[in-house]
Structure formats: C-alpha cells, structure tokens
C-alpha cells in the first residue's frame, strides 16, 4: 500500500503501523455554577497545576530549545491576565462551569486566530485547541498521557499532533510520523526535524486500513 504526503522531515524508517486515536474531552455546558468563588478557585488551582506540569516538562533534559520555547508560550497564555479575566467573567457573570468557561474562551480565541489572513499564523489555532483540551482534561481528572501505551518501535499514524502532544510522546519508540493534517511550517514539523524523526504530513489514508495492519 502506498500513502502519499508531504515530506516535512526526511529519512527512511521502518516499524509497525500504530494508529493514535485522540480522546475528545467534552466541557460541561449543562451545569450552572452556583458558587462563583469556589468555581473560580477551582479554575485557578487547575490552571496552576497545568503550569507546574509544563514547567517540569520544560525543565526536563530531553527536550530541545524549540520545544522549550513552545512550552514557555503555553505557560505565558495560562498566566495571561486577559485570558484569566475572560474566564472569570464567564463564570461570574454567565454562571458557566469552569470547563465550559475555559472551552468557550479558548475556542473563540482559536477561531479568531484561524481567521487571520496569514496562513502560517492562522494554523496556530490548533495549539490553542490543544491547550484547552489539556486544561479541561485536568479539571475532569482525565489522564491524557499521550501515546504512553506505545512500548515498541512504531510508525505513528494520527489525524494531527500538536507540539504539546509531541513533547509527551515516547520518542524513543517513534520511528516516523504520518499525519493527515498539519503543514510543512508547523511547529510539529519543526520538532520532528529537530528530533530526526522522518515525517509525512497531509496524508490521505483510511483509519480502517491502518487498524487492520498487524501490530
């Protein structure tokens, strides 16, 4: 079987095909916040917890300068007064649950970015969606250790992988990446090149075919 795509990181690699299915984490839009002070406190606790996780990831020795700078950007967003104020406002004025407030705020932000005239800048909307998912997962206590079930050498197939998700992958087992989306200039492409992992992006393949392959 041949799969065509754009080679964003060159090289030749072999390994079993492994399809990465991302868990979609849903925010709670049904509950109405009845204790604003408590809800805001939970928002801050979780936000600080994610900052602490990101700081640990940033300070670990096995990531490069590019990944460090991208993690720094996520930390800056989580510490951003304008972001914090918008979420607090959604909770206090509109009685949103914390997860709904975070998702609404960051989804709107991602949409604004996706509408930018410059495609390179617009493609960063994915990074914001990913940050939203990680924050909501932490609120809901959902484990999102990304790709940790991979314990042998694989060629990893996925719809998309954000830089934050890339940083969590067990890179010693990832021989190559095959993604449906993501452009040549994306941060994930930069990280794949920096780690010497061959990568093929913008590939059109059917999940069923990959799932049917022996692993």
């Amino acid at each position: 079987m041949n799969i065509d795509g754009v080679a964003v990181s060159q090289g030749i690699a072999m390994g079993h095909a492994h399809l990465l299915n991302k868990q979609i984490i849903k925010a709670d839009y049904l509950s109405i916040c009845t204790d604003v002070t408590a809800e805001v406190a939970i928002f801050h606790q979780t936000r600080l917890k994610l900052i602490s996780h990101l700081q640990q990831l940033r300070d670990s020795s096995d990531i490069n300068d590019t990944a460090t700078e991208l993690i720094e950007a996520d930390i800056l967003l989580l510490e951003d007064d304008e972001f914090i104020s918008e979420v607090e406002q959604l909770i206090s004025q509109w009685q949103f649950s914390t997860t709904a407030a975070v998702e609404r705020c960051l989804r709107l932000h991602a949409y604004q970015i996706s509408q930018l005239a410059n495609q390179y800048l617009a493609s960063r909307a994915n990074d914001i969606e990913s940050l939203s998912q990680r924050l909501i997962a932490l609120f809901l206590n959902i484990e999102t250790a990304f790709g940790q079930q991979i314990s042998h050498e694989v060629v990893l197939f996925a719809d998309d992988i954000t830089p934050a998700e890339f940083s969590q992958l067990p890179l010693q087992h990832i021989k190559a990446l095959v993604l449906k989306s993501t452009g040549v200039t994306s941060h994930t492409a930069i990280l794949a090149r920096a780690h010497g992992i061959p990568a093929l992006f913008l590939c059109d393949y059917h999940h069923q075919v990959i799932e049917a392959m022996p692993s």
């Binding site: 967003l77 007064d81 604004q112 970015i113 800048l121 914001i128």
Partner: protein, 89 residues
C-alpha cells in the same frame, strides 16, 4: 506628568511575530513597569498579553506602533523596537 513614548516599526522577519517570538516579545515587555500597547491596523492590544497579541496576526511587513506610558516608557519602546528589528525568522 506621565512619561509616554511611542514608535512605529515594520516587521521584516519571514514568519512575522509567530508564537515563539511573540512569547519572547511579551516576556520582554513584562520586564518594564510602563503600560505598553501595540497597535496594528486600527487595533490596539496590551503588549504584555500573548493572548491578545496573537489576535493581531502580525505577519511579515506588518507596520506596528509600540506605545508606552510610565516611568520606563522610553526604554521599553526602544527595547521592543530593537527586538522587532533583530528578529530573524
């Protein structure tokens, strides 16, 4: 009297003020006590907010005005203009 200063600068780097340089820009802006704004195409945002800065879509050849108000306004504007001029990618 409040100390204020502003300067216009054009972004020449290939990918504009994308995530990584934007984060560095915000970190630099936060080192100053002055209130700092960045304006482009009739939109003005807080230069210390990456959240807002990202929405300006500052690409190559974007003309921006950096303005600051406060004790270290002049130094803040000079440093941030210098940062934009030295951007490489």
């Amino acid at each position: 009297m409040t100390n204020s200063h502003q300067q216009q600068v054009t972004i020449h780097s290939e990918y504009g003020l994308h995530t990584r340089p934007a984060a560095q820009f915000v970190k630099l802006a936060k080192q100053f006590t002055a209130d700092i704004n960045i304006s482009a195409e009739q939109q003005t945002v807080n230069a210390k907010s990456l959240f807002k800065l990202q929405t300006l879509g500052l690409a190559k050849e974007s003309q921006i005005t950096i303005s600051a108000q406060g004790d270290d306004a002049l130094k803040a504007v000079e440093s941030l203009v210098n940062f934009i001029n030295q951007l490489e990618d």
